[in-house]
């Protein structure tokens, strides 16, 4: 078979004036604008495009379109490009995949000699012994992985997404699809018409029939004049709940691929039919092509597919292919008519070309065999909508069964008719789609707040009064009297499938999994029905009895880049961040936040807070503004302690547990006014606690009058800590008495700070020192911070970061939820069991905590290593003596610059929790050290005199 370019065809889509140069396996080639990569190569006489997976047999053109499994190539850094579909571009670097050292001479083709041993699934039956050799076997097997190569330097190119809400989406732009789009648009619906091909028209594009061409011109003109939005080289890849559609657009001018997400009110599925290959001996020789491939090559690109052809025709498309071939100069050696009992049995020739075809018992010299054996209905979108298509043996294909009423099928998927019949069915489908869309639109508009007003009653759901399409009889042609390839890309033959079925892998799903048939790049669009037929044959059943596999999204593959789109991962910083950056900060990532970890010397920061005064930016601290008369009830419900009698201006610490009694979060909440509270949460828990609060209010207590506003970022938060903090605050605060009597520990005041009104000030802190926690309207955060720094220079004021705070909180023995507690730590294990008030009516976690109250539980305890210079890792296990029995673990550890020794928090078994207990800590190095549990959590100032000061 030698393909070659012929004279100008009236239907061709190439611009012969625009020559494009490209490379194929390093050699120079050229084609024309409008060529696909495959048509350009075919026109230049190339016959082999790839090698098969297992036997590395040469593969030529089969269908010459997107689904052609033999035309997978690498273009630059883009692997697995469909050369049957991808348009040629100037300068393309195209390479074959799956061949070594070259496409023409491939070492692994030697596998063909062992075909009889390499039956489907053979690898499950061998390579088991010796066991130590399996990794080597595996490496060899893995070299058979098909496909292109990843270039790890490929940039994550710019991919945007589009969202659209059309009334009607039409998937498929053949004559029925176009008519559906036009009719729906004519009824006033907004319509998106999605064409998988590079131009609309479906099978009319490659028909040389004059009436077909006239109809195509008419449809195109009508589309141009309509309001229908047309996407070409785009595919509806998935239909999800409620007609949520994924559409991949491959020809967007600036994106490699674009994902369009459409919420369609009705979906019209008009994908046409996919021509099904026929199974017989030698059906995978280059030179055996489908009738569609022959007609596309001849009519779209002016390529003569071969010199002398046998045409096996079981339908009108086969007949048309014979006529088209003659017109481009291919001699027709014979037409074998599958409708009247004509049969082909095999081809003969080398592995790379056909030289004869055995048909009806005679051998006919030919270099081309064109096969028109029938159709596969691509029912994918219907499958995704829950439909289970039904096989009709008289028409030899599947038909829709009962799709949901907002998904309508038309065109070849729905049945057969002449062109006028298809167009009429398409138009009727479009009208029905528009009418149903109008009803959905009316419903949405009348039920959506702030939507445009809508008149009248909701239109009735339009009944389906379309005249159904007929079903043309078609012979059931799946396999000839010989065996051949069913799955070209996976090298799975009908013999393999029959053998698998006899072995017990006799349902489609089992056979598919065992043989890997239909798992290749076209995902069964060419292979599924032949697979089912082979199994049916082996079982002595019908295709209906065997049934088919479920087609899952995506209908056509789409790139990870298009799916990912742009990266949306916000970075959060406080308003004070510029000051930190200007002051030698070392940043730590804390969830979405970038926070100051330290400013050079955390130990010095600790000493400064203990001796003078320090500032820490705690803006990420979660803050919820709670208003309404029922706030105390809410607090009582979510915290384990009591809240009904908190006075105005008072602050209380609370612990939250989940329904399983496990510690969820902790923090302080203050009462700012009669019905106004501010809840603070841990920084990492800010989002989760908000959801937790809303969840309870919305689902369990919707009648409570509480309004919740997350205000975490509305305020910049600064903790001013240290013995000189009151002196510093007095220099910047107005309107508040800072005296210890007037503004005692665990109270809250509103104040004007550094001229900024509306600041809240809490007498609390995590460091154990006299502290004021300031919440400043965010826009003034930087100003207040700078004012504090300026005003306190003579007091030795300095910033401190998270690390210094962690050291100081550990010195004070404050636990951190999620670090010193874990997913199983019940409330009492924190040592704060006395907070839990089981006499309250109800609160989250009460039943579990009531149960836990009379159990001995693992406890959070403070631990000091016997050697003050050894700091165990925050993961070191507490074990029983020299054994590997785990009795607890270190959860926090630091060297304390205040105490000049190592200090820890840990969790231990109940019987180790008493003060003075000696424990053994296993360091990561393997060394075991002694340590002692101390009486209380605080390593420093256990009486808390400093913070009350």
């Amino acid at each position: 078979m030698t393909m070659s370019r012929q004279g100008v065809q009236p239907t061709e889509v190439i611009d012969r004036a625009a020559k494009l140069r490209f490379r194929w396996n390093g050699k120079r080639f050229s084609g024309f604008e409008g060529d696909t990569i495959a048509s350009a190569l075919a026109a230049s006489g190339e016959q082999i495009f790839s090698r098969s997976m297992k036997y590395h047999r040469p593969r030529g053109i089969l269908t010459a379109d997107y689904w052609d499994p033999n035309l997978m190539v690498q273009v630059g850094d883009d692997p697995n490009v469909r050369a049957g579909h991808r348009l040629l571009e100037s300068g393309m670097d195209v390479r074959s995949q799956n061949a070594w050292p070259s496409l023409n001479r491939d070492i692994k083709a030697a596998n063909s000699l062992f075909g009889r041993f390499l039956t489907a699934g053979f690898y499950y039956k061998t390579f088991m012994r010796p066991q130590w050799l399996w990794p080597t076997y595996e490496r060899v097997l893995a070299t058979f992985a098909p496909g292109g190569k990843i270039d790890l330097d490929t940039p994550h190119a710019y991919h945007d997404k589009r969202y659209t809400h059309p009334d009607v989406v039409v998937a498929g732009a053949g004559p029925a699809g176009i008519e559906a789009a036009l009719a729906a648009s004519g009824e006033g619906a907004s319509v998106l018409l999605v064409s998988h091909e590079h131009a609309v028209g479906g099978h009319l594009r490659y028909s040389s029939d004059a009436a077909d061409q006239a109809a195509l011109a008419e449809l195109r003109a009508a589309l141009d004049a309509s309001d229908v939005e047309v996407l070409t080289d785009s595919t509806v890849t998935g239909r999800y709940e409620d007609n949520w559609l994924g559409i991949v657009q491959r020809n967007h001018p600036i994106a490699v691929e674009r994902l369009i997400k459409a919420r369609a009110k009705t979906l019209v599925a008009a994908p046409g039919l996919i021509e099904r290959p026929y199974v017989f001996e030698g059906n995978d020789r280059p030179g055996v092509i489908t009738s569609g491939a022959a007609r596309r090559l001849a009519n779209l690109w002016g390529v003569k597919p071969g010199e002398r052809a046998v045409v096996f025709s079981a339908n009108a498309d086969g007949d048309a292919a014979a006529a088209d071939l003659e017109r481009v100069g291919t001699e027709i050696a014979a037409v074998i008519d599958g409708r009247t009992g004509g049969r082909i049995s095999s081809t003969s020739g080398s592995s790379r070309a056909v030289d004869a075809v055995v048909a009806d018992g005679a051998s006919i010299d030919a270099d081309l065999l064109v096969v028109a054996a029938g159709w596969t209905a691509p029912t994918s979108l219907l499958n995704m909508a829950g439909d289970r298509p039904v096989y009709d043996p008289a028409a030899a294909r599947f038909f829709p069964s009962d799709p949901p009423s907002n998904v309508l099928a038309t065109g070849g998927l729905a049945g057969d008719a002449d062109l006028d019949g298809l167009r009429q069915h398409g138009a009727a489908t479009g009208r029905l789609a528009a009418a149903r869309a109008a009803a959905v639109r009316h419903r949405l508009q009348s039920r959506t707040a702030r939507a445009l007003p809508v008149d009248g009653d909701e239109p009735a759901w339009a009944p389906d009064e379309r005249v159904p399409l007929g079903r043309d009889p078609h012979p059931e042609l799946y396999r000839a009297d010989t065996h051949g390839m069913v799955d070209m890309s996976e090298d799975i033959s009908s013999k393999d499938l029959v053998a698998a079925a006899h072995e017990g892998y006799d349902s489609v799903e089992l056979a598919k999994r065992y043989t890997t048939a239909t798992m290749g790049p076209s995902q069964g669009k060419l292979e599924t029905v032949n697979t089912v037929a082979a199994i049916a044959e082996a079982r002595g059943e019908t295709i209906s009895q065997v049934g088919t596999t479920v087609w899952r999204p995506p209908y056509a593959p789409l790139t990870l880049g298009a799916l990912a789109g742009r990266m949306f991962e916000p970075v959060r910083v406080s308003p004070i961040h510029p000051w930190h950056e200007a002051n030698n900060v070392s940043i730590i990532q804390a969830g979405q936040w970038l926070r100051p970890d330290h400013y050079g010397d955390p130990a010095a920061e600790v000493r400064n807070v203990r001796e003078n005064v320090g500032l820490i930016d705690v803006t990420p601290l979660g803050k919820l503004d709670l208003r309404g008369p029922d706030v105390p009830k809410l607090l009582s419900l979510l915290y384990v302690n009591k809240w009904m009698k908190l006075g105005v201006g008072r602050v209380r610490y609370g612990m939250m547990c989940a329904e399983d009694g496990v510690v969820l979060d902790d923090g302080v909440t203050g009462r700012l006014g009669e019905d106004h509270y501010m809840m603070s949460t841990t920084s990492s828990g800010a989002g989760g606690v908000w959801e937790w609060v809303e969840n309870w209010l919305q689902t369990e207590r919707p009648d409570w009058q509480v309004h919740v506003t997350p205000v975490t970022t509305a305020y910049a938060s600064i903790n001013v800590a240290g013995p000189k903090s009151r002196e510093l605050m007095s220099r910047v605060c107005e309107g508040v008495d800072l005296d210890a009597e007037a503004f005692p520990y665990m109270t809250v005041r509103e104040a004007t700070v550094a001229g900024v009104a509306g600041c809240f000030m809490w007498r609390i802190g995590f460091t154990g020192e006299l502290s004021f926690e300031l919440h400043v309207p965010a826009g003034h955060g930087l100003h207040v911070w700078e004012a504090l720094m300026d005003s306190g220079s003579d007091l030795g004021v300095g910033p401190f970061g998270l690390e210094a705070q962690r050291i100081m909180r550990l010195e004070k023995g404050h636990f951190i939820v999620g670090q010193d507690t874990d997913g199983l730590t019940l409330g009492p294990s924190t040592g704060l069991g006395s907070l839990i008030k089981l006499d309250k009516d109800d609160f989250a976690g009460k039943p579990e905590l009531a149960w836990a109250a009379d159990r001995s539980l693992p406890m959070v305890v403070a631990i000091q290593p016997d050697d003050p210079d050894v700091v165990p890792e925050e993961a070191a296990q507490i074990v029983r003596g020299d054994t590997n029995e785990i009795l607890g673990r270190i959860t926090s550890s630091r060297y304390s610059p205040t105490l000049n020794r190592s200090i820890c928090l840990g969790q231990v078994e109940p019987d180790l929790a008493a003060g003075g207990t000696k424990v053994t800590v296993l360091l990561e190095s393997g060394e075991r050290i002694g340590a002692t549990v101390i009486d209380h959590h605080a390593h420093f100032d256990p009486a808390g005199e400093r913070l009350r000061g």
Binding site: Y124, K125, Q131, K261, T516, G591
Partner: protein
């Protein structure tokens, strides 16, 4: 009589390279991998669910306890549920000593499986990396590593440079939004050909006389003496099961039905603290091998490995809502792709070929429920959530022992249903692969 003849089969041929060659030369076909049997009226035990757990249980009942008059019932085909939908990862780097001991035994059984079952399950112990993108997750990795070491499991925390060495395609620079700070590296972890495990257990069980019945749906569990309606519920005992192919009498019913576990248990009047959530997965087109290890990122909610066929297989966290639907969502693939590209920007041109989902039976403490129930003769092996596949061999072994001896084996004591009454939960939240 057909059934009896079916049971008295001669030993089928072993799989081996020599047998492949011999049959290839002679053009002979292989016998059925398991028999098609008539459904009997009575069995010594009935296993509901023909996935890896059910099949492994049946296999060990026959192999370790000589119970061969056993039927495995599946409403569809063998391996049609989670067994064929999971991402086939096997590892033992868990967080609790109970979890480590249990999964370590499972890894050990997987290592021997190809030889023991005489089918190549392709256990590829290529190494397993759990990435940490924050200091808190790195702290958890250290914790796991320490517990693993004490349990005798090969597992350690490695830094970005070593990660790059093990897996060059990962972006270990500080460029990603959440840079990789370290990883828990677990060399014995890897992937298995999950379908082969299903077929291997079925074939081996079949050889010993166990019957596999596909397209056999259990519609009720027959009980007597219980405190609920129809003799179901606590204090009662199992007498049989009702199926779409007729009633079967049996004293032992073992529920191995994963996503449908709570529905099946309700048939015996046993309520389980289980909700069913879909877990989605996707696979790309194949490319030449470039990803040598299994990679998991809890923070980015993704796990990925490359199959020997060259495809990337992705999984993620369970969907946040309870649901029995196994249709995938578009949002899942979008989120997945975004996270994968954060880890490996170079794969942006790989194409997603197929997405699917499976059903996970989630328990409150992310640990399974195994063993006896208040209904005598009704055993459960459920609540396997997102990690059932990797536990199949040891679960089957232990469940078979429980069913055959009537005693709870020590290894699964911690997973008893009664723990939800006495509060002794087993927390594996931290080590379930992602997103819990």
């Amino acid at each position: 009589m057909a059934g009896l003849a079916g049971r008295l089969r001669k030993r089928p041929p072993k799989y081996s390279a020599a047998a492949l060659a011999w049959k290839g030369l002679r053009g002979q076909s292989w016998p059925r991998v398991w028999r098609d049997c008539d459904l009997q009226r009575s069995y010594d035990a009935v296993v509901i669910g023909g996935g890896v757990h059910g099949l492994a249980t049946a296999y060990y009942l026959a192999r370790n306890h000589g119970m061969t008059n056993v039927a495995v019932l599946d409403k569809a085909y063998l391996g049609s549920g989670g067994s064929g939908r999971n991402t086939a990862i096997v590892r033992s780097n868990y967080l609790t000593p109970e979890g480590v001991a249990f999964y370590d035994r499972s890894v050990h059984l997987y290592e021997q499986m190809a030889v023991e079952l005489n089918i190549n399950v392709m256990f590829s112990q290529r190494g397993h990396l759990t990435l940490a993108h924050s200091d808190s997750s790195l702290r958890t990795m250290h914790w796991r590593a320490e517990v693993n070491k004490l349990g005798g499991v090969n597992s350690s925390v490695i830094g970005p440079d070593e990660i790059k060495k093990e897996c060059p395609s990962l972006d270990t620079s500080d460029h990603p939004r959440y840079p990789i700070q370290g990883a828990l590296y677990h060399p014995p972890g890897g992937v298995v050909r999950h379908d082969a495990v299903v077929w291997g257990y079925a074939r081996a069980a079949d050889h010993m006389g166990v019957e596999m019945h596909q397209k056999t749906e259990v519609t009720d569990i027959l009980c007597e003496g219980g405190d609920g309606p129809d003799g179901k519920g606590a204090g009662g005992r199992v007498t049989g099961v009702r199926t779409n192919r007729g009633d079967i009498s049996t004293p032992i019913v073992i529920n191995c039905t994963a996503g449908w576990a709570s529905l099946i248990s309700t048939m015996a009047g046993v309520r389980l603290p289980i909700t069913t959530h879909p877990l989605q997965a996707a696979v790309t087109e194949p490319v030449k091998m470039f990803l040598p290890t299994v990679v998991v990122s809890g923070s980015l909610h993704v796990y990925v490995s490359q199959t020997d066929r060259g495809e990337l297989v992705f999984g993620a966290s369970v969907d946040p809502y309870a649901n029995y639907s196994v249709r995938g969502s578009l949002e899942f693939t979008e989120g997945l792709a975004g996270h994968v590209l954060e880890l490996m920007p170079g794969v942006s041109r790989m194409r997603i070929l197929r997405q699917w989902s499976g059903l996970c039976d989630m328990t409150p403490d992310y640990s399974p429920v195994m063993g006896f129930t208040p209904v005598d003769g009704f055993l459960v092996d459920v609540g396997w959530g997102t990690y059932g596949f990797k536990a199949a061999p040891v679960s089957g072994e232990q469940m078979a022992e429980a069913a055959a001896t009537g005693r709870t084996p020590k290894l699964i004591e911690a997973f008893a249903l009664s723990r939800f009454d006495n509060g002794e939960l087993v927390g594996e939240k931290g080590a379930a692969s992602v997103g819990h």
